[in-house]
């Protein structure tokens, strides 16, 4: 114990007071029906997100500095290796050109670009959730300054990631689709049977409210249905893993999302063109 510590008996009223105050704070956040967003959340978020961004910057700079040092120390060997790699890459580039042409052809066929009236804003993941067992969120280094608004769809080339929930000037908190409180409209690509996709709080999602008559197979593709008005229809979500017995009235299946959320480094915000926010 430190000198001058208060005896435990005196600390109990303070402890009780703190708990009551925290309960009041939590109650206030829950019972605020007007804005849908709490003052406490905004203050806490605004206070610490710049600190987070600064530390993220310093962290990246230190890592880059160390990497550059080691790189320079082995420049000669690296040069030789790179020359070999260049010749390999030339061959690979020809292959990539072929794939690119094929991709363009497929894209034209699908007319995906024309179908999505969205502007893409790329962002880098700077941090992950401070308590993964409680919620699933990501911090991205793009904010209102870059045109991000609340409730914007967030995707990767693999599939959807989540929705922006708290937007600061230079950073955004993204609620992942695997979070227990996240739910969006989704459907089975085969048969176009729609349901509600909710996160299970771990690394997968549950597609609920499918009719009992529908046949679901392991590996079936799940896409967004666009019913919730945030995600456009037809974006890839994931694949069906197994059936979950939740109710005898409807069918539920476990869905494994396409993006690997522990290794997502870059995400794309879908901004509807011509509007500030959705």
């Amino acid at each position: 114990m430190d000198a001058g510590d208060v005896i435990p008996r005196r600390s109990f009223p303070i402890f009780l007071g703190c708990l009551i105050l925290l309960l009041a704070v939590m109650s206030y956040q829950i019972s605020d029906p007007l804005t849908g967003r709490s003052v406490f959340v905004s203050v806490g978020y605004r206070l610490f997100s710049p600190v987070q961004s600064v530390f993220a910057g310093i962290f990246t700079a230190v890592v880059n500095g160390v990497q550059n040092y080691f790189y320079l120390a082995h420049t000669n060997q690296e040069n030789q290796r790179l020359l070999q790699e260049v010749s390999e890459l030339k061959v690979r580039m020809r292959l990539v050109d072929q794939i690119r042409n094929e991709n363009n052809r497929l894209r034209k066929i699908l007319e995906l670009q024309q179908r999505l009236p969205y502007q893409l804003i790329a962002g880098e993941v700077t941090a992950r959730d401070a308590k993964a067992s409680q919620s699933r969120t990501l911090m991205v280094n793009r904010g209102s300054h870059h045109g991000i608004r609340s409730m914007m769809p967030v995707v990767t080339p693999d599939g959807i990631v989540g929705i922006s929930i708290y937007v600061d000037l230079i950073s955004t908190k993204v609620l992942m689709i695997t979070d227990a409180s996240a739910s969006i409209g989704a459907m089975l690509d085969r048969g176009r049977v729609a349901g509600i996709l909710t996160g299970d709080g771990r690394n997968s999602c549950i597609l609920k409210f499918l009719p009992m008559s529908v046949q679901v197979k392991r590996g079936d593709l799940v896409v967004t249905s666009g019913q919730e008005g945030i995600f456009p229809e037809g974006l890839a979500v994931g694949r069906v893993l197994q059936e979950v017995n939740e109710s005898s009235l409807y069918r539920s299946v476990e869905v494994i999302p396409f993006p690997n959320f522990t290794s997502v480094h870059e995400v794309l915000f879908l901004k509807q063109e011509g509007t500030g926010s959705k």
Binding site: I30, Q52, A127, R128, D129, S135
Partner: protein, 159 residues
Amino acid sequence: MKPIRTIFAIAAVLLVQTMVLGHFERAQNMDLFLLLNIYYALNFSPIACIAVGVTSGIVQDAFTGGIIGMNAFSKTIVAYFIAIISSRLMIKHPLILMLLVAVGTAVDLFTIHLLRKLFGLPHLVLSYPTYLTAIVLNMLVGVLGYRITDRIRTRMEYV
């Protein structure tokens, strides 16, 4: 307890938790904020623990998807009761420390569940392996971390 040192400790825990542990599937279940609180509970007064519990909990809440105050609430409870126990008993044996960390982790998770239920938030469908991973990782890393920190503190005080 030195406030500046405590703020640095909270900042360091935040950085490691959000920027390092988040990349690892199993390690992300570890709760460094809880370990920090238990460390303070073992070494400082209950009042100091309440202050650290509330502060670190709110910082954790700001970077978590839930509502602000949940982690502050659970951390304060865990830290306070461990501080009360440690003010009466000498807790130095690694096995007792492990037990304290395990109970602390369980109480923390249980309190969060209780609060989510109280405020009508969606139920967390976490599996027992997830809980077990959190408890075991917290136990091992906690006890090891406390040992190292104690040695560093002793050496610094000696110097």
